[in-house]
Symmetry: C2
Subunit: 339 residues, 2 copies
DNA sequence: CTGTTAGCGCGTTCAC
DNA sequence: GTGAACGCGCTAACAG
């Protein structure tokens, strides 16, 4: 039924190996024969069976992408960027979406990717055991989240620098009471919240502003959490005149909380986010823009490079540049701000 | 290096065929032996090679998902829903993200999914040629977009009914000048814009409201487009007091346009969307809620059913229920609305 | 440059 | 209930 390599070989009057060589562009086939084979193969609609080639060669031409939740903006974008690079290079993408705790457990327990992929791109932060499980696959590993980890090529942004830019921006506008909405939870290995917080503290210190713990609130990296956190900050004895949210989604929640209190940004409170979510521009949200899809693309490129040259030492950590996207939710403090 | 079925067989003191039978739960293996084999396999960390099983059995245990753009909210959600169902059933998901015109062309020209998947879920609307290419794979096909198509199992919502509910809601609130932001473009086979528009016209007619072409604007199904469209509507001789946007993203653009004009919803203009985008709730947007992830999940289930029983006639079209999500952007027309 | 010979690791008969 | 033999479709090593 489906056409195999021997069908092509017979039709072209050559052996199967010659067809194999010709179609994969290997040397040792005369141009004449190669051309004939290509025509025959095309006319027969032949595609080599991936399973058979994999079995014979050991290469799968497939990259596994492990994600916590492709339905979320951030991961969808990273996946998008990675997929484009990989498919352009002739690789297939096998997606493992480990949203639920059970799915995740099942994946790492049974490792369905074993013998199925040439490399793995992880969009989630594996704990110690999970990292070991991935390393046991014996293939190149990359990730776009979390700090440097042995065995992984990590592509990320400079969280410290991004947060520094954000808070400095608020300081430069003249704010002195600057709040922060952060995410306290998350896996141990996720260094982002800590890095951004440290930058916040450092900038306050360098500006000679005393840190007020009442101006920090946990937003859980969700819109709802951001709303709750902002509400909390507004209830402080002396509310902030500006707020740095560690993510755009939390910043959006904060904007909503302001609206609920009949306040607006930046007239009453300045708000700056982090990410450059696709709706940030719509909302006019000032933010630290990180190229999300590009991080996935770059991680994919580094994996491809390792596959092309297994001997080359892969970079342990690579940074993608970020920039401040000035929009409409930040301005100098106004006298009529919340007291 | 990697452990194979013969390794397990030797360690368990049985033959490879017995291991194969035992591990796949086939009959004809004593419970005693099966238990022993399972223990040995687990302790050795054995996973059957998918390529080898595929080659031997013809089944790939892999489903191909073809998407136009996983980075977009809607498709990410559908993919998410589908992936969960498929991976829970032991299937892998091979993702083909056909964002660019070239990627799409390349995919349909070379059909890299051939011999690689047991079924295909398409999140994009294939044209005639592309449909034929997919059908030539000889596997079950499903889709969550577009109208019914031969050879495909289609899972979707009742666009007509959803739009009817939306516009009736506005009529019931007392609105008479009701605008619509729609999307004119898109592929021929995409019936959604037309269906929703027809419902809009029908409800106006049934309410005895004369249709005013000046109250329709094209929003291109994007936030930006929605913003432009709303601006256009506000510039009409007699602007609408309420607007039905055919998607939440366009509705969000409309809200932004209102803000730019120092107007608000619902005080000046009521706005209702369609989708229940994850940020709709945050913005308080009244909308027609469609369960996006559920559509992907249901399509996946129908594919699995066909794989389990190839003889069963697959349903040609299946509808997922929708509901009106009443929130804060719709209210009775106010006397101080735009004139 | 090209053909022949062996597997790759399984699932699937068919005997026993 | 279990094992031996065969083949799935292809690539790799070796001849020629």
């Amino acid at each position: 039924m489906t056409v195999s390599i021997t069908d092509v070989a017979r039709a072209a009057g050559v052996s199967a190996s010659t067809v194999s060589r010709a179609l994969r562009g290997r040397e040792g086939v005369s141009e004449e024969v190669r051309a004939r084979i290509e025509i025959v193969a095309a006319s027969l609609g032949y595609t080599a069976s991936r399973s058979a080639s994999t079995l014979a060669s050991g290469r799968t031409f497939t990259i596994g992408v492990v994600a916590p939740y492709v339905g979320r903006w951030f991961f969808g974008k990273v996946l998008d960027g990675a997929e484009q690079v990989l498919s352009a290079a002739g690789y297939d993408v096998l997606l493992y979406n480990l949203g639920s705790r059970e799915a995740r457990k099942r994946f790492f327990a049974r490792m369905p990717a074993r013998k199925r992929v040439d490399a793995v791109l992880s969009l989630l932060i594996p704990d110690g055991e999970e990292s070991a499980a991935l390393r046991s696959l014996g293939v190149p590993l990359a990730t776009t989240v979390g700090g440097a980890r042995p065995g992984f090529t990590v592509v990320g942004i400079d969280d410290r620098s991004g947060a520094t830019q954000a808070v400095r921006h608020l300081v430069n506008l003249g704010h002195r009471r600057i709040g922060m909405i952060s995410g306290a939870g998350g896996p141990q290995q996720w260094t982002t919240p800590g890095e951004r917080r440290q930058a916040y503290l450092d900038v306050l210190a360098e500006a000679g502003i005393e840190h007020d713990p009442a101006l920090e609130a946990d937003g859980d990296f969700t819109v709802r959490g951001g709303e709750r956190a902002m509400t909390e900050l507004l209830a402080a004895v002396r509310p902030p005149t500006a707020v740095f949210a560690q993510s755009d989604e939390m910043a959006m929640g904060a904007l909503r909380a302001l609206r609920m209190h009949r306040l607006t940004a930046p007239d009453d409170v300045s708000v700056i986010g982090f990410d450059d979510h696709e709706l940030a521009e719509v909302l006019g949200l000032t933010t630290v823009a990180q190229p999300v899809a590009e991080q996935g693309a770059q991680a994919a490129r580094l994996l491809l490079r390792q596959l092309a040259d297994p001997n080359a030492e892969p970079p342990a950590y690579q940074q993608i540049p970020i920039r401040l996207a000035l929009r409409e939710t930040t301005a100098p403090p106004s006298p009529r701000g919340p007291q």
